[in-house]
């Protein structure tokens, strides 16, 4: 579904990603771990099409299309979803209205009929239950005055509504207490399906206690230096990142 080959990316002239390779198959959950500054978030942003990241080499194919040719909204409509590390506030923009507009933009591009207000509300209530989100959140402006946990849950809620082919969670676990972490993890698990893939970008192993990945990759200095199964995450938890980096350098 997603094939990244030899990806190099610079930010303001500084090379961050230095030849990243990654293959994600349908229905797979991949965790990308790594120390601070290794390029994890940069990778998430490049996938979603954020400006300010210059791809200098390599390719990204997503469901057969050249991802780098597409605008951010086109990527979203093709089924790519990024859950933000720092969700953005939109004062005065009603959360329900925002979600309905987004969902209908995605549906329209897929050639599906737009949802009317009634069917949208029904769909929303259904998805709300999964994430234990309060109704009142929907009446408020997007992310305005939300607690850290509410913001993160709102991201996963959006993902549940938009039903992407590939969900990328950028440090979704950061800043969450254990209860909020569990709710977010439940939400992600509920979204797992043979047709949907997930990339978990995370610094810590603890999210992986709740969302079990099929593959774990270690990113350091802009490259994936080791890949393995979920046991790799445990090993990292015990030994830290240092030993792999040393091994890779050797």
């Amino acid at each position: 579904m997603l094939s990244v080959k030899g990806l190099k990316t610079s930010v303001e002239g500084k090379e961050i990603l230095r030849g990243l390779d990654l293959e994600v198959g349908e229905g797979e959950v991949h965790a990308i771990m790594g120390p601070n500054g290794s390029g994890k978030s940069t990778f998430a942003h490049v996938l979603s099409g954020r400006e300010g990241y210059q791809v200098t080499a390599g390719s990204i194919r997503f469901d057969g299309a050249d991802l780098l040719d597409l605008e951010p909204e086109e990527r979203a409509r093709k089924g790519l979803f990024l859950a933000f590390q720092y969700p953005v506030e939109l004062p005065g923009v009603n959360n329900t209205y925002f979600l309905k507009t987004a969902l209908n933009a995605v549906r329209k591009s897929r050639g599906e009929a737009e949802l009317d207000a009634v069917s949208f509300l029904r769909l929303m209530r259904e998805k709300l239950k999964v994430l234990h989100l309060d109704d009142s959140l929907l009446k408020r402006a997007v992310n305005v005055g939300f607690s850290g946990g509410e913001k993160k849950r709102n991201e996963i809620f959006q993902m549940a509504l938009l039903e992407p082919r590939l969900g990328i969670l950028d440090e979704t676990d950061s800043g969450l207490d254990i209860d909020a972490l569990r709710i977010v993890a439940d939400g992600v698990n509920a979204l797992r399906s043979p047709r949907r893939s997930v990339i978990l970008v995370t610094h810590y192993q603890r999210l992986l206690d709740y969302v079990e990945p099929d593959f774990v990759h270690v990113l350091a200095r802009g490259r994936i230096i080791r890949s393995g199964g979920k046991e790799l995450a445990r090993e990292l938890e015990q030994k830290g990142y240092g030993w792999i980096a040393e091994e890779a350098a050797a």
């Binding site: 979603s48 099409g49 954020r50 400006e51 300010g52 605008e71 951010p72 909204e73 990527r75 979203a76 409509r77 979803f81 990024l82 933000f84 969700p87 953005v88 506030e89 939109l90 004062p91 005065g92 923009v93 009603n94 925002f98 507009t101 987004a102 969902l103 933009a105 995605v106 591009s109 402006a141 959006q158 938009l162």
Partner: protein, 480 residues
């Protein structure tokens, strides 16, 4: 980070209503002297006392000079180069729409306000002003049943001269300011509304203004009187055809609310703003003022200003009656080379008076705008309260927004609150929306509409929809 292409483009959407109706005008030659004023008054068949009032204003105007304190810049205006009267060729006063020049009706059609349909539509009566003379008034009869007078002010001066003259110039006196004084001398037409005691006006009253004849200054005069315990909601919307020369528009609006009366005055203004260099736009120098004369009376101004090259406008409330309430809700958009210096004045005179100000300024391109607001609490105004909220939104790096709050408090019991913010549509917000599948254009429109929400909530339903659409059109072109 540099400006994104969509922000550049967004700023360049062109004015949609740029067309000129071919129609014979009965226009006075350019220039202004007492003879011109006499000619206007004669054409309007006004009572002699009106002519005296106009001449008094004119003589006072000669002693005044054009004000330059506002934060706007323009070339000097040659008042002798303006023609002060232009009327569609009269066919002995049209009695029905069938008698109205078809070219006129076509103009309205282009603007999307088909009068034929409006007759049937949601109880909105239209007193359409084409250039300076009212040519079609609908719903008059239904209003008359309720005792509401809604007509051209020139007609009102013939039919109810005493009523009009009892109130005219009592809120904005003929000596008030340079442009209002000029208006008093030369106003050609406008609207008069009188709602009698205890009457709730059965429909929203609406006037569409349109400037048409080239080089003709527009000097509209509107007077709305809500007698004791009455209620009226008035909608004013405007567009203008594309022109090369600057056109001066100096209107005066006076509102008077007696005991327990309420007036809601809503404006959507979309006059031609000029081309990208700012050539040819409308100069909109308007004096709007309402007086809460009676106890517990209420006046609210709601405005959405997207047009004009220069806007100079401060809809104000004089809160004379005890416990009277004034409100000002405003959205002003400046893009291209547009300039706006706008705001409000809340003058608290009576005890327990309160006022609310919500101002939302949006600047894009090279647009400049200033919010200028005065809140004055007079000595006798015990327990007066004011809440002011003043937010500016910048789109791009070349625009500017400034806030000039003036607060004068002469009574220690006053409670004043002032909040002000300036923000930019951030790349983060745009990207967030786009990453959810929205186009850049929809994203900007959504963020801007969210920013303006508190003001749109104050508009009557159908007007709010129109205003949102107008805002989206104004900021169109944000293709990702």
């Amino acid at each position: 980070m540099s400006e994104t292409p969509e922000l550049d483009e967004l700023v360049r959407s062109e004015y949609e209503h740029g067309f000129v109706t071919e129609i014979e005008s009965d226009t006075l030659p350019p220039g202004l002297d007492e003879e011109v004023i006499r000619a206007i008054s004669r054409r309007k068949r006004e009572p002699a006392s009106m002519l005296d009032w106009r001449l008094k204003a004119y003589r006072h105007w000669l002693t005044m000079s054009e004000p330059h304190w506002a934060s706007v810049h323009h070339h000097p205006i040659d008042y002798q180069a303006i023609s002060y009267f232009s009327a569609p060729k009269p066919k002995e006063g049209p009695k029905s729409l069938d008698e109205v020049d078809p070219a006129l009706l076509e103009t309205y059609e282009k603007l999307g306000i088909p009068i034929e349909e409006q007759k049937a539509l949601a109880g909105v009566a239209v007193d359409a002003v084409f250039d300076s003379v009212s040519v079609a008034t609908t719903f008059r009869e239904k209003l008359a049943e309720a005792g509401v007078i809604f007509c051209a002010i020139s007609e009102a001066l013939q039919d109810y001269p005493e009523l009009v003259q009892r109130y005219l110039g009592t809120v904005v006196p003929h000596t008030d300011n340079f442009f209002a004084t000029l208006n008093s001398a030369v106003f050609s037409d406008g609207t008069f509304v009188y709602v009698p005691k205890g009457v709730r006006c059965p429909m929203e009253l609406s006037t569409y203004f349109r400037i048409n004849a080239s080089k003709t200054g527009q000097f509209e005069r509107t007077l709305i009187v809500a007698d004791e315990g009455s209620y009226v909601s008035y909608l004013e919307g405007c567009t203008a055809p594309m022109r090369d020369e600057n056109q001066l528009h100096a209107a005066v609006v006076e509102l008077i609310a007696m005991d327990d009366a309420e007036i809601k005055y809503s404006t959507v203004q979309n006059w031609y703003p000029g081309d990208e260099q700012g050539r040819g736009g409308i100069y909109n120098f308007v004096t709007k003022r309402g007086e809460c004369r009676g106890a517990r009376s209420k006046i609210s101004w709601t405005q959405v200003e997207t047009g004009s090259a220069i806007t100079w406008k401060y809809p104000s409330c004089i809160l004379r009656g005890q416990e009277s309430v004034g409100a000002f809700y405003s959205v002003a958009v400046t893009k291209g080379r547009q300039q706006a210096d706008t705001g409000t004045k809340m003058i608290h005179i009576g005890p327990n008076t309160s006022s609310t100000i919500v101002s939302k300024g949006i600047a894009a391109g090279h647009g400049r705008q200033a919010y200028r607001g005065l809140v004055r609490i007079a000595q006798r105004a015990e327990n007066a309260r004011n809440h002011t909220q003043c937010d500016s939104l910048l789109i791009g790096d070349h625009c500017g927004a400034h806030t000039f709050p003036y607060i004068e408090v002469k009574n220690p019991t006053a409670k004043m609150e002032h909040e002000a913010t300036t923000s930019k549509i951030s790349e983060d917000q745009l990207f967030y929306c786009r990453s959810r599948g929205l186009s850049g254009e929809d994203a900007v429109s959504m963020i801007v509409n969210g920013f303006c929400k508190e003001v749109f909530n104050e508009l009557p339903m159908e007007f709010a929809v129109e205003a949102q659409k107008l805002l989206s059109i104004s900021l169109e072109g944000a293709v990702g």
